[in-house]
Assembly symmetry: C2
Homo-oligomer: 347 residues x 2
């Protein structure tokens, strides 16, 4: 058994856009296991946009990430030592192990400390579903897509559904689920390569490359051209100018699920230019956090797992190598440099 | 029977804030009644903020008011001639007669032309409810309050409900219905007199005088001080800086019903400063038009009528005298110069 390992802690809160020096890589001892604990070796660490919110000390739905503690994050790995009757060496597990190579975890999660707090370790099976998918399409991002689309966007066959960050871990699933429901699906993504991917590989009907728009008016024209029948359901991952452009295309009684507003995470907040459209188009806009709806996770995960196992749900991954690559990969993801689900491979 | 009468038509669309010269008073002949028609003498004309939207030729939920046609508007009056078996001379009726002294109406409304189109004339009874109340608390404004509060804000006993334009025809009813449900109710209104009225006469727990705030920060501080437990349900009639201030006080899972955004009706649209709060507070924001929910009108009107008849629901009226006073009263209402329901008395 290793006696020490590496982890990444939040060193300081960002002032504007986060930088590498907001993080600190350290080597720390691994304690002996107490009764009920297991030692998990992390194979993959998940990087997700919500982590940006936790880095700041502002009013939000979750407590901020504490300074000098290991960064929060979902992980998949393997039990390498166990003093729990619930887990055996060799078990593959999903947890909230954080940005570190190993995690000492109380098996039922309730009394665990640090990022694992309150999140029970869960056994997973990689025989039909790749281990890393439990951090993506068959994990929190997938359930996020499932909930926001089905419960908040309420798509009906023949309607038009749009989704931003369309090639991402969440957006890609949103579009594929909407296609399966018989919707006309339009993605919004940054760059021709991502747009080609969501149309050719994921089966979207069209994709708007927002980076090809030099002005808000140009973006709006592109969204308008891609949605000739308007938009009935919109899954929002980015906010800002993209939201403004989409709102102008919303049909009466349109539904907008707000999953992310990454455009407003740094610096000055980004306003919504035309809130009056909420009234004139009778829109419903609703923010959500998928972890607050645990009752629907089993149903969602069953559908998503079946979709991935059969190949009906496709996805792409950007995999950074080694714990030391995590901060850079995370900052790149916030700028849209990733392509699909951003992971860090630790083994 | 009169052979001519006076009416007010829309002469031109406003460029920015509407002005008196956007309207034109004219005297026109009254045609003889055809079979099935009735002649209604209007006693009261209703002035409502939605009319501002109709004056402009922009994408909205309703077709714009046609130029050179009589201005749209709700009316109560009395049948003074009838060639319909459904209505007798002397019947008191509610309709969409428009800004004019008389209206020739096809009794069932379906084939009526002009502002009455599609709105069947309805008999009303002024023995227990004042005739003008059918244009206010027991009419469209009252049902608007009832729908937005009950269906969209979903208030629960002990929660805090806020409403803007609190002394108005809609806002006053919102607050009284919320009080009856056991909520802590906070109004937002312009001026000490209106604030005193909603607290002392209507029974609100508190009222914020937005005109006493010289900056957005000052307004926000006033809203914060008036809502120490945050805001769970908000009924929006104005938009702009008031909405921004309220959003900062919304509790997690708060509901906002968007009934009006009068702040953005003229000139440049007013942005929403912090849409990110929709996500961080998991808000639900929904716009609505009460005429699109006819199934709930009978239930709402029964409750509102009982409330007014028993004195449980109180309201105030601003009554302008004579048709020629309608444009000035309307423009004043858009600036908040009215106090309670704005009417024009024609008889």
């Amino acid at each position: 058994m290793p006696t020490s390992h590496r982890r990444i802690v939040l060193a300081s809160r960002p002032d504007g856009a986060p930088r590498e020096d907001n993080f600190r890589l350290e080597t720390v001892p691994l304690p002996d296991l107490a009764p009920g604990q297991v030692l998990v070796r992390h194979h993959f660490l998940s990087l997700d946009p919500y982590m940006r919110g936790r880095m700041s000390d502002v009013k939000s739905y979750a407590a901020p990430q504490p300074i000098d503690e290991v960064m929060i994050g979902g992980t998949v790995g393997e039990v390498v030592a166990s003093r729990s009757e619930q887990f055996a060496v060799g078990d593959q597990v999903l947890g909230m192990g954080g940005w570190q190579e190993y995690a000492v975890v109380v098996a039922d999660g309730e009394s665990a400390t640090g990022p694992q707090r309150g999140a029970p370790l869960r056994k997973v099976d990689s025989s039909r579903i790749p281990l890393a998918a439990y951090l993506g399409a068959v994990g929190m991002p997938g359930v996020t897509a499932w909930y926001g689309l089905n419960i908040l966007c309420e798509p009906k066959a023949g309607e038009t559904v749009a989704v931003s960050a369309a090639s991402g871990a969440v957006g890609g699933v949103v579009g594929q689920l909407a296609k399966a429901k018989g919707c006309h699906v339009v993605g919004i993504a940054g760059g021709k390569e991502k747009c080609d991917f969501v149309v050719r590989e994921l089966g979207f009907d069209a994709c708007v490359d927002y980076k090809a728009a030099t002005t808000p008016d140009a973006l709006q024209a592109m969204v308008r051209d891609a949605t000739p029948k308007g938009i009935d359901g919109y899954f929002e991952n980015v906010g800002g100018a993209v939201l403004d452009a989409v709102m102008l295309q919303m049909n009466p009684f349109g539904r907008i699920a707000v999953c992310g507003m990454i455009a407003g995470y740094n610096d000055a907040p980004t306003p919504m230019v035309l809130p009056r459209l909420i009234l004139t188009q009778r829109l419903r806009i609703q923010g959500f956090i998928v972890s607050e709806h645990p009752a629907l996770w089993p149903k969602a995960l069953a559908e998503l797992g079946a979709g991935v196992a059969t190949g009906a749900i496709k996805y792409r991954e950007s995999v950074a190598q080694g714990l030391e690559a995590a901060p850079g990969a995370f900052l790149g993801m916030l700028q849209g440099k990733n392509f699909g689900k951003q992971l860090v491979k630790l083994v």
